[in-house]
Symmetry: C2
Subunit: 369 residues, 2 copies
């Protein structure tokens, strides 16, 4: 087995565990910084290590287009290419085909579309998606799935689920790399019966891990929070559970409460590049004039390099002057915040006080800044 | 005395010494990375330390405009504001008024101009330039000088020299900060007689250090290299000598040969942001298709984080994908190259083999890539 997963603590539906991968262990619940194009934007691997990053995410769609998975394989694989020797999860590209590519067409065979870079025609099939990820050499690969938009009608969602199940099976049969785990993706929107049907068929195929896809695509946060416990409970208890592309700090806590182990989202880095910083007292906007002479760190007590070294006035200046270091430093802090939130959640689960921990976070963020 | 300077070795006109400042010692000859807006673009102070940076440069003109020298003083001074606890030299802003501001007008009183940021009217006088730099708290401040363009006629250059001498004296008389050294700037273009006249008057004022200004403003590299030995010899032997804003690696070696101790230039960082990397075998353009599958480091044997961690293929990819990390990493490497060039020059001077060292560098760069 490429990976193993040991549950260590339970607190209601919430869990704490250890995911062991070919590139080392990952304590869960965990947040995975997003390194779409073989780089977490603006941060070096050394910076990611410094804030305690254990696993990052890469993107099959982007990397297959540029620089190409064959080139990355020639360069020794994605870990070596990007200088990151801890675990990597690669998503399958299904979501990007629908959100980034133009003229996407879906058939049972796969997805054809035009590259968002140069418009060239391309195809992703289940088999090709597995081949790409085997070339990349990620620790965890994802099956190709069809991701209907959040406002799709029930028949569209149902057809996407049927196709995603068939594609997952084709991915599984094509997958050969022994040092890589292939995770399945449960779709079905907010229709719990459809999610259950999808999960049942995928669980029967015995994947080493399962993801929930199709959240955070337009539904309300309340609808997502309401759907999560039921959806998470459909997944095998003893295997890692990954909630794809979600989300805000409060969404991560809802996910942990529902029994999710793995998270990824662009929010900490994308918001960081736009001068929005997450703190224990809620988010702050560093471009705001009130921070112009504010010598306090972004978040008091945060051990990250940004907070240990600089005041808000300096960060305000960097953004006002359009200096690259601003996006870098606030991305670093935001990832530190997300990683600490998951590490703190893990300790709270171990201590049997996760519900109180979550309520305390939410109250403090709401009281806010 | 805010600073002291000890010469340790001589090799022809070249020298090796130690400049002692309130924020620690600086071995010379030395290159100062340019941190115009209180940041060396894209690099953290920790990265600058990692490559052995001993002293950086800040910019009076930019910092007075944004965020304001009063604000920086309130924040504890420039060192604390930007998280850099080693020495800082601030230039006076004279050069920037002429190169960046619009509608610059010079009178004996000072320079009036419009901000390049918002067009607001501003004035820099000798007294105000000293006040700004005392607010910033740099270890070394520079006098205000008038910088005529490289193609200015002899009368214009002569008038600028006269005014720069008067301004230097006014700066000296206004300067009170005991933990800051104020350096004078010798102007006069490539007219050695005029440079000599300027130097004679400034030397009589007994500044703790002297700079050569007005190079690298349009004259040919050959003309500059020819003028440097004579110009450097005009400056007091026992005091530090700073060649402002110069330049290419071969220009730094010409400067060291002429007896210069301090250098600054935007070339390593500006070129780094544009994917041009300096190496022991000459510069390489990382956007060039020949580096697409090149797994070699930017410069074999370079100890910097970029070269120790990544191959050229990865850097090529970062620039192709317009990822921030490319400019950061190549700026880091280029500064490492410049700092090593000066450290190697220092050792060569100490060993009495600087001429051979310089010839070897030039031959290798020319044989090139």
């Amino acid at each position: 087995m490429a990976i193993s997963f040991q549950l260590q603590h339970r607190d209601g539906a919430a869990r704490a565990g250890v995911l062991t991968t070919p590139h080392g262990p990952v304590e869960t619940p965990v947040f995975m910084p997003v390194g779409t194009q073989a780089t977490v934007k603006g941060l070096t691997p050394a910076m990611l290590r410094d804030i305690g990053t254990r696993i990052i995410l890469g993107n099959t769609y982007h990397l297959a287009l540029r620089p190409g998975d064959g080139l990355i394989a020639e360069q020794g694989g994605l870990h070596r290419f990007m200088g990151w020797d801890r675990p990597i999860l690669t998503d399958s590209g299904g979501f990007q085909v629908f959100s980034l590519a133009s003229q996407a067409k879906i058939t049972d065979r796969g997805a054809t579309f035009r590259s968002h870079i140069d418009g060239s025609p391309l195809e992703l099939t289940p088999e090709r998606v597995v081949e790409i990820q085997q070339n990349l050499g990620s620790d965890i690969a994802m099956v190709l799935d069809e991701c209907p938009p959040g406002n799709a009608g029930p028949e569209v969602v149902r057809a996407a689920v049927r196709r995603s199940i068939v594609w997952a099976d084709r991915c599984r049969k094509h997958h050969t790399r022994g040092d890589q785990a292939l995770f399945a993706i449960v779709q079905g929107g907010t229709d719990l019966a459809l999610r259950a049907e999808c999960a049942r068929e995928l669980v029967a195929m015995d994947f080493p891990g399962y993801a929930l896809g199709g959240f955070s695509v337009g539904e309300s946060p309340d609808a997502m929070h309401a759907a999560l416990p039921g959806c998470a409970a459909l997944l095998p208890d003893e295997k890692p559970r990954y909630l794809m592309g979600v989300g805000r700090p409060e969404d991560l806590l809802a996910g942990v409460a529902a029994g999710i182990d793995l998270f990824d989202c662009v929010m900490p880095t994308r918001n960081g590049r736009n001068a929005l910083a997450f703190t224990a007292d809620g988010p702050i906007r560093l471009r705001n004039a009130k921070h112009r002479r504010d010598s306090a760190p972004v978040e008091s007590g945060c051990p990250c390099y940004c907070c240990a070294t600089f005041g808000r006035a300096y960060l305000h200046h960097l953004f006002a002057a359009d200096e690259m270091l601003g996006p870098t430093l606030v991305s670093l802090h935001n990832l530190s915040f997300y990683l600490r939130l998951m590490a703190d959640s893990r300790r709270a689960v171990a201590d049997g006080r996760f519900a109180a921990f979550r309520a305390g976070c939410l109250a403090r963020w709401r009281a806010g800044t």
